[in-house]
Symmetry: C2
Subunit: 344 residues, 2 copies
């Protein structure tokens, strides 16, 4: 099939290509009759508008760049799912880039997106990012930028995150109310605001309920199922008393559960557990895992809608950026039903 342009349609109908262009774009000054003729001819010839040419000329690509650490993490793929759905409904396409949790690849990604002349960028930063670096380029070029979940708050860009502080607080408060007293928190060594916030929530909840803050009960490492196991081994071998664990995310919690089972420590009666993120497996494992839901789909949709507003508004960095914090949702399952044996 030969590629057909508006010129071919123009020749076919013996009118000029500018009339064709206008007809195809539903320009008001074109008669209904002409429009119909043009559209019929376009269909007949198998015409497809060349978006590249129109982007070059108009300066708008109708593409937005989405930069995430990795689609292999369900949290991100779920948010991207939401973003693409909404963007798609509004006439935008999504150009995807994964940083693989490396700020270097992230910088390369921003460069690629910028070169591709995306109309905007939605991003969630890599775990090892130290400075705002290349992100500033986006702002300097006056291209809309928005963050979700992991944001750079120094930059004047809007963001949609969940309230991690509140999530940490809720999780800890739930354990306290369930009757647990020596609550361990497992967190990350690496420097990411969301994890710090969760820990801050943990600490404040303890304080609010008059429980002592014991630094021995805060364990730091690199999140993973195995790290969860290690933590349990570590605590028990050091004979540190504890009756509940709040982990920074669900996989670590799962490691904790597995190791406790190995050591025949009853969940939830001897040790209560709550994770964070509401991974799919939480409702399927035994005992089912209490957790904090992050409203991933809602986050994707919310950031996309926010972004569309920005695009319409035009002046992206004039006013203070909107920072939306979604409420985390406490999901209580079997793993934190309370130490009912404690009175024995």
């Amino acid at each position: 099939m030969k590629k057909v342009t508006i010129l071919d349609i123009a020749k076919e109908l013996d009118i000029t290509f500018s009339t064709v262009a206008r007809a195809l774009n539903d320009h008001p000054a074109i008669s209904k009759n002409t429009k119909e003729l043009v559209k019929a001819a376009a269909e007949r010839l198998g015409y497809r508008k060349n978006k590249i040419a129109s982007s070059l000329r108009s300066g708008k690509s109708n593409i937005i760049g989405v930069l995430v650490p990795s689609l292999d993490v369900s949290f991100f793929s779920s948010v991207v799912h939401g973003i693409e759905s909404i963007m798609n409904q509004n006439g935008y396409s999504v150009l995807l880039y994964q940083s693989q949790e490396s700020y270097k690849k992230e910088d390369k990604g921003i460069e690629t997106l910028l070169n591709s002349r995306v109309d905007g960028v939605i991003a969630s930063i890599a775990i090892n990012r130290e400075d705002s670096g290349t992100y500033e380029d986006i702002i300097n070029r006056n291209i809309p930028l928005a963050f979700f979940d992991r944001s750079l708050d120094d930059l004047n860009a809007p963001s949609v995150t969940i309230d991690d502080y509140k999530g940490g607080y809720m999780a800890t408060e739930h354990l306290i109310k369930a009757g647990y007293k020596n609550i361990v928190h497992i967190t990350e060594t690496r420097n990411l605001a969301i994890f710090k916030e969760r820990m801050r929530g943990y600490k404040d909840a303890l304080k609010a309920y008059g429980l002592p803050l014991n630094e021995d009960l805060i364990l730091k490492g690199n999140l993973s199922l195995d790290f969860g196991k290690e933590c349990v081994k570590n605590l028990t071998s050091r004979k540190i008393p504890f009756d509940a664990i709040f982990t920074l995310e669900d996989f670590t919690a799962m490691g904790v559960i597995q190791q406790l089972k190995v050591q025949h420590i009853n969940i939830p009666h001897e040790v209560g557990i709550i994770g964070f993120a509401n991974e799919a497996f939480g409702s399927l494992v035994s005992p089912t895992l209490s957790t904090i839901d992050q409203q991933t789909n809602r986050m994707g949709e919310e950031i996309a809608l926010q972004f569309l507003k920005m695009l319409k508004a035009g002046d992206f960095y004039k006013s203070a950026p909107l920072r939306i914090k979604l409420d985390p949702i406490l999901i209580i399952r079997e793993s934190s039903q309370g130490p009912t044996w404690e009175n024995i």
Copy 2:
């Protein structure tokens, strides 16, 4: 920041813009000295190549379209993860489109990708697609097309799938060898080759081991956790004897497990179970779920590499398309350890 073009660099250095263009593209005929000067100036002025302009002129966008049902399904997000990683390493970007399992949205997606002048399309078809429809447009335009997992074999396009027949056979064979005799298969009503193949494998394995094929033991519905539960209720209420279940995918298997537990039927001694897909939760649930791994990351990488070959080769539809079938991997866990109580 004003947008800077090769013309600005040319003025700055008092040379012509074509020299600048060549220098930036590392053209061999340009002196090392000039190249360095140009690159330094580009850096200094904050130049970014306008990919849109270069795509328009060269006819290559260096973007490939990826069309999948939904990123909310871990199988697809995992494959897309692999595709993007490889493409990215080879200088291509990924334009993402989700069909949401609707062939209408899929058609719209193909149109969008074609309009965006992607250099190729990698797709996995929607579950309700009946004809090859718009996919033919891609081929007619001589744009490389490749499928993964769910393909349209009528079209002359390469594909990477797993050998679903073999997977079905392996799963069934495993149950037989473990000692189960009355093996149920739960499959889909909707018409998708991959599910039919799994069933064909099931049937052939029974035959190969001299077990009778009982149509009562083949249940059809819409895959879901709830459907798994229903199947168990259905079988037990109709008092149909069975001692193992092979489900078309893991979530359905999970429903089966949950319902068997409710009815206090022991797994794996009274009933053995194997799923399909190796979802993340399989190793975390209790009992851990035997399943068939689909090599998702490998599939993504394989299809991407295959695709890059196509792009280099140039003549996309001249020869018979390569259809790569990856071997499924049997993963044996607790849920199918065999009916050791049967001898009691």
